[in-house]
């Protein structure tokens, strides 16, 4: 188990190297997915290698001349990587317009990062559960199929798509089993390790990842955890951004244990399965408009974050909810407040941590999280 976990950790540690490694190893073209909800299955079906473009934990230098310091760390970091030439090996970046920040950054990258081969914006409807949104989504996905076909210089059949959907669904189910095990045996795996596993999945072929997951899950099934008096909590948020693992580390260091999550590099990435009984394109579009986790950047009034997280906390028997907001991620600020108003009646302790690319003082985060855990303990 340790060995597998180490391997995941290595893969997650150097996202760009991992992607480059797989590019060389498979000889496939790489598609970089920027922002939330880029339909990876489509590129997979064309024999391309979709990878998620992640925030990088290094100082932002070049992007300062283009992106204000009062923008979220994710896009500042991605712009910086693009300007530094780090993303030049990617054959095409698909940038989903999940918020205005990404919309404009795509333009900035296009203008200034001369080494970028291709960057293609797409727009998926914000109001997701409307008839028009459904048609619009279908049109955008068809456009992505064309784009993928051009890139791969081959056509994508319905069978190709269905096979990709099946591979991805299998992957989702394996990750869900991982989460089930964590709920059943709190502390069996650290939050950082889970984050590594999901992050690795964003960077490598799902088939390979599945092959690593299966033995890991088996080992976990057979392992027992000692009883402890750690406080079980769930963690939610961190849209697009990925440098928040230190928050998870601190949380578990001060006596908490993460028993489930609603994080971007976490359950949000695999929560929505695609219906295999429908025609593939319809199923993919449906999966988008019927996405399971409520998203701060989408408008879906009946899917409330407060209900979703309360259910998650109950299912995992968690005693507290931690929200992580990426500083300047505007949509998330509102949705957090609505969530906070929504859970008042449930009497479950909650706490907000705001993260920044430049890092917030770890001592302060520690004081906050430790106090939160102490206050639950009473």
């Amino acid at each position: 188990m340790e060995q597998l976990l180490n391997k995941f950790q290595q893969i997650a540690a150097e996202p760009l190297k991992t992607a480059q490694y797989w590019k060389e190893k498979t000889g496939k073209k790489v598609v970089g997915c920027m922002g939330l909800y880029v339909t990876e299955e489509i590129f997979h079906a064309a024999g391309l290698l979709p990878v998620v473009i992640l925030e990088k934990d290094s100082p932002i230098l070049r992007a300062q001349a283009h992106v204000q310091s009062y923008m979220c760390g994710y896009i500042r970091s991605v712009t910086d990587q693009a300007l530094a030439g780090d993303l030049d090996f990617i054959d095409c970046i698909i940038s989903h317009d999940c918020c205005h920040t990404i919309r404009m950054t795509t333009e900035i990258i296009k203008r200034n990062a001369t080494g970028i081969k291709d960057i293609q914006p797409i727009f998926l409807p914000v109001t997701i559960k409307k008839a028009e949104s459904w048609t619009y989504t279908l049109q955008e996905l068809s456009f992505l199929i064309e784009k993928a076909e051009k890139l791969a210089a081959r056509s994508i059949t319905e069978d190709d798509l269905m096979q990709s959907i099946q591979t991805y669904n299998k992957h989702r189910r394996l990750l869900k089993r991982l989460y089930q095990l964590r709920r059943d045996k709190p502390g069996i795996i650290s939050a950082r390790q889970v984050s590594n596993i999901v992050k690795a999945s964003m960077l490598m072929p799902k088939e390979e990842h599945n092959a690593m997951l299966e033995p890991l899950l088996e080992a976990m099934e057979n392992k027992t955890v000692e009883a402890n008096n750690k406080i079980p909590v769930i963690v939610s948020g961190s849209l697009c951004e990925t440098c928040d693992e230190y928050v998870l580390d601190i949380l578990e260091e001060v006596g908490g244990v993460v028993v489930d999550d609603d994080l971007y590099v976490g359950s949000r990435y695999f929560a929505t399965e695609v219906d295999e009984s429908l025609s593939p394109l319809t199923a993919l579009a449906l999966a988008y408009v019927n996405m399971v986790p409520p998203c701060p950047t989408r408008h879906d009034p009946d899917n409330k974050l407060s209900d979703y997280l309360i259910n998650m906390a109950e299912r995992a028997r968690a005693k507290g909810i931690i929200s992580v907001i990426v500083k300047f991620c505007e949509a998330h600020y509102y949705s957090y407040l609505t969530f906070r108003r929504g859970i008042k009646e449930f009497n479950i302790p909650e706490y907000l941590i705001e993260t920044e690319h430049e890092g917030v003082s770890p001592a302060q985060v520690k004081t906050r999280l430790q106090s939160f855990i102490e206050s639950i303990r009473g």
């Binding site: 705001e354 917030v360 003082s361 102490e374």
Partner: protein, 276 residues
């Protein structure tokens, strides 16, 4: 250390050490919950040295040896670096406890230290219900006051005293230290009375704190702790802004260390009970 020796049950002390960003505080309790000795010294660049120093100061005061400490709780931002400590607990929990000892009726606590300001909401037992902290900038902290006092060429005490002689209302709109400092300098150059500027600065701190208080909801009575609770100008400004009276102990700066010492005593007893 002979911590669980049942024989000398009535001898010994319980230590609380609060290593704050600006000052380090220590309080020693005996079995009767009486404060035997306490001390406040500046936190130096090397925390280990500061901690050694404060322990030495306390034990020079006619106590037996350090071995008589039965249980020690460290708190404050340097809490990890106290070797003597049996346990680390955050200053939020410790201030809540310390206040509960002095003012059992307290519902809300404002702790303004050198680097952080915190507002804590507590229940009748002094347990924390919720809390908020300033973000990482120095707005609304002791540090902010020190920077401004320096640019006014005043000591903190002088600034507090002067602020209460203010006759004319001026505004310092910015809460950011850097901007506020430049606002202050430009007010000085416009010939505005220093006392009026000092009062404006206190109001600006108060605004920040009131914002934090409102975020968790004001419940009375409210107690102020931390070094800045000794700054009468700031206290008055917060009282005015909230339109309430604030309770302050005679030694507000020691509250965190005191709370830590009380938790140490409680832990010791719990542990002994579970052994016996």
């Amino acid at each position: 250390m002979n911590k669980n020796n049942a024989q000398d049950r009535k001898d010994g002390y319980f230590a609380g050490i609060d290593v704050g960003s600006t000052t380090t505080k220590m309080a020693l309790l005996d079995f009767e919950k009486k404060i035997r000795v306490s001390s406040i010294i500046p936190t130096g660049p090397i925390i280990k040295k500061t901690v050694d120093k404060i322990i030495n100061i306390c034990f020079e005061k006619n106590l037996n040896g350090i071995d008589d400490i039965k249980y020690c709780v460290a708190t404050g931002y340097g809490r990890e670096i106290v070797d003597l400590a049996d346990e680390q607990i955050t200053e939020i929990t410790c201030h809540a406890k310390g206040v509960n000892v002095i003012f059992p009726q307290a519902k809300t606590i404002i702790d303004i230290g050198g680097q952080d300001s915190k507002v804590i909401s507590v229940d009748d037992n002094g347990s924390v219900l919720s809390f908020v902290m300033n973000d990482k900038c120095a707005a609304g902290t002791g540090r902010f006051l020190e920077v401004i006092a320096r640019s006014l060429e005043l000591s903190i005490d002088e600034m507090a005293t002067l602020s209460r002689q203010s006759k004319k209302r001026v505004e310092v709109s910015s809460m950011c230290t850097v901007f506020a400092e430049s606002e202050v300098i430009s007010l000085v150059s416009q010939g505005v009375e220093v006392s009026d500027i000092a009062a404006a600065i206190n109001r600006s701190i108060a605004r920040r704190l009131v914002g934090l208080v409102q975020r968790i909801g004001l419940r009375l009575p409210l107690v102020m702790t931390g070094g800045v609770a000794q700054n009468k100008g700031v206290v008055k400004a917060i009282e005015d802004a909230l339109n309430i009276d604030i309770l302050i102990s005679t030694e507000p700066q020691i509250t965190g260390a005191l709370g830590a010492a009380h938790i140490a005593l409680k832990r010791f007893q719990e542990r002994r009970d579970s052994i016996e």
